[in-house]
């Protein structure tokens, strides 16, 4: 019996699956500790540094400040309202894309993602052009809408968070077992009942993940509140005030620690949700293919177009502004803003593309690797791993960027060799947006029934073989979507990387910032348009490459 001999070997050597598991989890953990925990600690430890030595004085001082309650209240007000709104809007949009037969899905998908690949600065600019006191709406209709303050932040953050939520929810809605729907229907359940009893529970994990992502990125975003927030103070802006305004790392770190708390809560929440999640794609399930239903499709199409138009209007007005002589006073068309008089001209755009490609490749390996490790090897360490994986969502970019300097800018440091190269910028991007990519991949992996793994194991396959032959072939569209997401983020992100760029690694988004800083708003808009065009071109080319490789029916954007 072959069993006997292999048994003897099994006890003599560590099992190769265990080795693979330990290696994957260990490597993931090591990377997360190195590129998330170490830099975070490097800056957040400042919160304990007081003139009198180590202590909690900074916290006491901040918590007893009368403004503290107001600012925390504001932060939660924005966080919760934006999260709820975004979830509802994005769920509807994702539902329309995945579960109906409405036309122009491809275009609508790309529009939904526009806010991810336009610099956030440009979004706020668009909002100002559109809804500002002297904006398009007020000028055209003679209204006196004042968006500065809560509503400005609310609208711009909703737009900003929308694609993040859409990506996760769309992945969650992409997979479904048609049999569940057929049986519900045959039991006489109406559409609303089916939605409540089948659709909603099946996407619970996605909803929870999206809620977490939206909430944390909203409370840590300072780009929008800074531009459009008026006198409405939120915690993320407080960090900016402390660190950039007053060079007070200690107080900035105190607020940074505060922002980590929701992430800690989310970890507990995830455990609770994941227990109630079932794999909706079992091996015998029948993929749900939406059937045409003219009335329903038309209704969802109308809804999607409405949402798309809202997003598009913000971008369109920026594009328009990039072609006029002087917004809003001289609207005659001109190309003069496309002659960029920044230091390196259009060169940073090429650097950005290299960084973005590198970021996407690293993310494909390490972020989906992390999602897989966390899912496939149930170990005690996994709760910690999960926490580290989603922690970055709760970290403002500025904190992460400065943390990278403090942690890695020391000769002799094990990773010092990547410092000052575009590799560290890419690594920073990967870990800055780690949570979003991780949850995107996890949402998909969790939907794939574990019986595939088990079947593979009982046939004698090692975990490594299972990954290569079974898991990857099933999830690779999501893996690709993760890469695309990171590519788009890397093209426009600013807050962390401005601390890591060097004179020879200037990025396109930074050029937009320069132009905006010096008041050349139209030129900033024009540069941003170039970035967006690059991303769209990249998407189209990749899709074309897939087509040429004979792969059809795969969407780069899930």
């Amino acid at each position: 019996m072959s069993v006997l001999s292999s048994k003897a070997r099994a006890s003599a050597l560590p099992d190769s699956d265990r080795l693979f598991g330990v290696f994957t989890v260990g490597a993931t953990g090591l990377l997360l500790v190195t590129f998330v925990l170490v830099p975070l600690w490097a800056i957040l430890k400042n919160s304990f540094v007081t003139p009198e030595g180590i202590g909690l004085d900074n916290f006491v001082r901040y918590f007893t400040d009368a403004r503290f309650v107001t600012v925390v209240g504001n932060t939660f007000e924005v966080g919760i309202s934006v999260t709820l709104t975004t979830l509802v809007l994005a769920y509807g949009f994702a539902y329309a894309v995945q579960r109906t037969c409405m036309p122009f899905k491809g275009v609508l998908r790309i529009i939904a993602l526009l806010p991810v690949f336009s610099p956030s600065l440009v979004q706020a600019l668009g909002l100002q052009f559109l809804l500002g006191r002297n904006g398009f709406v007020n000028r055209t209709f003679g209204t006196e809408i004042d968006i500065y303050g809560f509503w400005g932040i609310f609208i711009s953050d909703t737009v900003y968070a929308f694609p993040h939520a859409f990506l996760i929810l769309s992945t969650a809605l992409a997979v479904a077992d048609a049999r569940l729907y057929e049986s519900a229907e045959s039991l006489g359940a109406g559409p609303w009942r089916i939605f409540r009893t089948v659709t909603l529970p099946g996407t619970r994990y996605g909803i929870a993940s999206a809620a977490f992502v939206v909430f944390t990125i909203v409370i840590t975003d300072f780009g929008n509140p800074v531009v459009i927030g008026g006198n409405y103070s939120v915690l993320a802006v407080e960090i900016y005030n402390q660190v950039s305004g007053q060079a007070n790392f200690a107080m900035g770190a105190v607020i940074g620690v505060l922002l980590l708390l929701p992430a800690a809560l989310a970890v507990t929440g995830e455990k609770w949700i994941a227990r109630r999640q079932f794999a909706s794609l079992t091996s015998q399930s029948v993929p749900l293919v939406p059937r045409p239903n003219p009335a329903r499709d038309a209704a969802w199409f109308a809804y999607s177009v409405l949402v798309a138009l809202a997003i598009l209007s913000l971008v369109a007005i920026v594009i328009y502004a990039s072609f006029v002589r002087l917004w809003p006073y001289n609207l005659s068309l001109s190309l003069r803003h496309y002659q960029f008089d920044v230091q390196n001209g259009i060169q940073p755009l090429w650097t950005s593309i290299s960084v973005a490609i590198l970021t996407a490749l690293l993310a494909i390996v390490f972020v989906t690797g992390a999602a897989y490790a966390n899912h496939a090897f149930p170990m005690r360490a996994n709760r910690i791993l999960y926490f580290l994986a989603i922690l970055p969502a709760a970290v403002p970019g500025m904190v992460l960027g400065l943390g990278y300097i403090l942690a890695f800018n020391t000769p002799g440091q094990p990773v010092y060799w990547i410092y000052d190269t575009i590799l560290i910028i890419a690594v920073c991007n990967v870990y800055h947006y780690h949570a979003q990519g991780f949850l995107l991949a996890t949402t998909n992996i969790k939907q794939i029934s574990s019986t595939f793994d088990e079947a593979s194991a009982t046939l004698g396959a090692t975990k490594l073989r299972t990954v290569w032959r079974v898991t990857l072939p099933m999830i690779w569209p999501t893996v690709l979507a993760v890469g695309v997401f990171f590519f788009m983020r890397a093209m426009v992100t600013l807050s962390a990387v401005i601390f890591l760029i060097t004179p020879s690694t200037q990025l396109a988004a930074v050029s937009v910032l320069y132009l905006d800083d010096r008041g050349a708003l139209n030129q900033a808009a024009a540069f941003a348009v170039c970035i967006m065009a690059t991303v769209v071109a990249f998407l189209v080319l990749t899709q074309l490459a897939l087509r040429l490789a004979g792969i059809r029916g795969v969407n780069l954007v899930r």
């Binding site: 019996m1 072959s2 069993v3 006997l4 292999s6 048994k7 099994a10 006890s11 099992d15 699956d17 079992t282 091996s283 015998q284 399930s285 029934s449 019986t451 595939f452 088990e454 079947a455 593979s456 194991a457 009982t458 046939l459 004698g460 396959a461 090692t462 073989r465 032959r469 079974v470 072939p473 099933m474």
Partner: protein, 331 residues
């Protein structure tokens, strides 16, 4: 013994899913784990397969302890309820999968795959992908895939329950036949008593993580050891009312007394009388629901009889040798 389970125990949190199970299988035997959902039968199978780890006890294959040996090294073939064919691989590649894992030579793999395809009559579907096949065909591929690497034991986890009735029927026969032909020791999990009774050499009736009774289909039907087995396999009347229990021992307070519906004898001037409450005509059989002594009792009558109507009064006997004394549960 070929395969032995000794004190096998598995807990999920505070729930005892499998509770000190002992069982012996001889080589070439076909055993069914039968029980309602949640009785622990699937968990027991997964423990044997190595997909779950034991909390206590041991599983021995020809005297060698398997605990600590991961599923992929046990050389057991497993067929899942949900086929679990790899959707990205063709039928042939699915079947070859286990052989590739074992590093068989290309030629040998090819030959073996052909052999297996013939075995399950799917020769012409080799290059199709699973989604192009019907459920029954997919399950046959799964069977071929599990058998291809010449496993020591074949484990079937509700292999037929996802299929529709007709297909189920024909696959039952096919699996039984294959099993006999290959002489492979097989464990099948099912909640369907007909399936178990038709296919298994021995049935292991399980309830709440424990074995209630092990035996052939006949043994389980005619001589159920416990109330659970009696009720789960076939139909049975529990005699609760003191009037019906009269005459069966003075100690009748504890033991459960039961009789199968077909063993109740309708007779003029019988010892008990009751009113007909339900009549079901099933062809050769008529099933009556009769209220007697304050409880309802089911009576099955065979052959042609005069027509009964609801409201009729009937008299019947409970033959002493047919009334079974059942333990409340196995200890």
């Amino acid at each position: 013994m070929f395969l032995s389970l000794r004190g096998v125990t598995k807990r999920f949190g505070s729930v005892l899913a499998v509770d000190h199970v002992d069982l012996d299988l001889s080589e070439g035997e076909f055993v069914c784990f039968l029980g309602p959902s949640g009785c622990g039968k699937t968990t027991l199978l997964r423990l044997v397969a190595g997909l779950e780890t034991l909390d206590e006890g041991e599983i021995l294959l020809e005297g060698t302890d398997l605990s600590g040996l991961p599923a992929r090294k046990r050389n057991f073939g497993v067929v899942f309820q949900s086929y679990s064919l790899f959707p990205n691989l063709s039928v042939a590649r699915n079947i070859a999968y286990g052989l590739e894992c074992r590093k068989w030579e290309k030629e040998k793999i090819k030959a073996r795959v052909g052999e297996m395809l013939d075995l399950v009559h799917l020769g012409q579907h080799a290059e199709k992908h699973p989604h192009e096949l019907s459920g029954g065909m997919q399950q046959r591929v799964a069977l071929a895939r599990a058998l291809a690497p010449e496993p020591a034991v074949l484990l079937l986890d509700e292999p037929l329950s996802a299929l529709d009735a007709k297909v189920r029927e024909s696959l039952r026969g096919e699996i039984s036949e294959l099993q006999k032909r290959l002489g492979i020791t097989t464990i099948m999990v099912t909640h369907d008593q007909d399936e178990a009774m038709e296919m298994a050499d021995r049935i292991v009736a399980m309830n709440r993580g424990r074995i209630e009774q092990v035996g052939t289909a006949e043994e389980l039907y005619w001589e159920p050891a416990t109330r659970f087995v009696g009720e789960f396999i076939g139909r049975i009347n529990m005699l609760n009312s003191p009037q019906l229990r009269a005459g069966f021992d003075g100690s009748a307070g504890e033991a459960a007394l039961a009789i199968r519906p077909e063993h109740v004898v309708l007779s003029e001037g019988g010892a008990h009388s009751g009113k007909v409450r339900k009549v079901a005509f099933l062809g050769n059989t008529m099933r009556l629901g009769v209220e007697a002594g304050g409880q309802e009792i089911e009576i099955e009558v065979h052959g042609r009889r005069r027509r009964m109507n609801v409201g009729d009064t009937v008299t019947f006997d409970l033959p002493v040798d047919r009334v079974r004394r059942l333990a409340v549960s196995s200890q």
